[in-house]
């Protein structure tokens, strides 16, 4: 769901980048306050994880492909603000070096994959996990649920950004200037693959990876820190 160059109007790109600016600012402040030096390499590895997981294209029966993104896992382990930074860095390198997602649409892609996905997924996880113990089945299920819904909300946001283009921007002869497909096409086209396939991949990867992190280095989880410290970082 990387929006390529030219699929969104420059004004749309500017607006969505504008929306991201305070989020990046807040995420940077939160990371500075809440992430100790030991967690910085961990955050960078989270960014690498997100970058790599997005290379695993999954075939969709309609002939397209989709992929997981890893943002909810990073949010659960290092906190949602850290996930904003980690996924944004992955998206930036993807856009600059690989042309995966536009450079002008980087802000839009960051809003969807580095903000909407980790934040919604993280809070759904918190809600569903309640006060269940760290390694419990309920907590892992909550992580899977958050990952599934988070990825799909990112797909929905992407679809809306695609879908409003032909409503807003057409040439004098009525032909679309940017994304040619409206909401009625874009929303099902984006959501069906993510609801039926990629969402489950995201859910499985998130639950398995969380289980592994809990087993290997439970102290790395932000939630393991005292509650007061977590408050100041958010």
């Amino acid at each position: 769901m990387h929006i390529p160059e030219g699929y969104l109007s420059p004004s749309t790109c500017l607006t969505l980048t504008g929306a991201m600016l305070p989020i990046w600012y807040r995420a940077s402040a939160a990371a500075r306050a809440g992430l100790d030096a030991a967690r910085v390499p961990f955050l960078a590895m989270g960014a690498v994880f997100s970058f790599l997981i997005m290379m695993f294209n999954i075939p969709i029966p309609d002939g397209t492909t989709a992929h997981a993104a890893g943002g909810v896992l990073i949010a659960i382990v290092l906190g949602p603000w850290a996930a904003v930074i980690a996924v944004s860095v992955a998206l930036l390198i993807q856009a600059l070096l690989f042309g995966d997602g536009g450079v002008l649409s980087f802000g839009a892609n960051a809003l969807n994959l580095a903000f909407i996905m980790p934040f919604t997924g993280y809070y759904i996880y918190r809600l569903a996990a309640g006060s269940s113990p760290a390694g419990s089945a309920r907590r892992l299920f909550a992580a899977a649920l958050g990952a599934y819904i988070g990825l799909n909300l990112a797909a929905l946001a992407t679809a809306v950004q695609f879908g409003i283009q032909p409503l807003l921007f057409t040439a004098a002869d009525g032909t679309p200037l940017y994304c040619p497909y409206g909401l009625e096409v874009a929303i099902p086209a984006m959501l069906i693959p993510h609801l039926t396939i990629a969402g489950f991949a995201e859910a499985a990867v998130t639950a398995l990876a969380l289980k592994y992190v809990l087993k290997t280095s439970p102290e790395m989880l932000v939630a393991a820190r005292p509650a007061a410290e977590e408050e100041t970082s958010c």
Partner: protein, 97 residues
């Protein structure tokens, strides 16, 4: 402890060519030729924007090597750059305290 996670990331990078098995393009990520075939025209904004930024390794491919090798090289080069960029950014914001 971090060594274990590095190992996992290296294994992931080595397995990325599996992502090439999926044929086709993600919805909404078509190139100009695909759009021409689908619509009979290329929307002007897409046509104009398509070439202003020339990615060095477009679509995770490397000139002169095969698709799989290009994807593997992209996975390792990209991972290294993502790691360095993230570390650098965190250092910069830590210094601006």
């Amino acid at each position: 402890m971090l060594r274990r996670y590095w190992l996992i990331l290296v294994i992931m990078a080595l397995l990325t060519p599996l992502g090439l098995l999926a044929e086709g393009t993600a919805w909404g990520e078509w190139g100009a030729e695909d759009l021409m075939a689908m619509l009979g025209f290329v929307p002007r904004g897409i046509d104009q924007a398509a070439s202003w930024w020339q990615a060095l390794l477009p679509d995770y491919s490397v000139k002169g090597v095969g698709e799989t090798a290009g994807y593997l090289i992209s996975a390792f080069v990209g991972s290294a750059l993502v790691y360095l960029a993230a570390i650098t950014y965190m250092k910069v914001i830590a210094r601006s305290k």
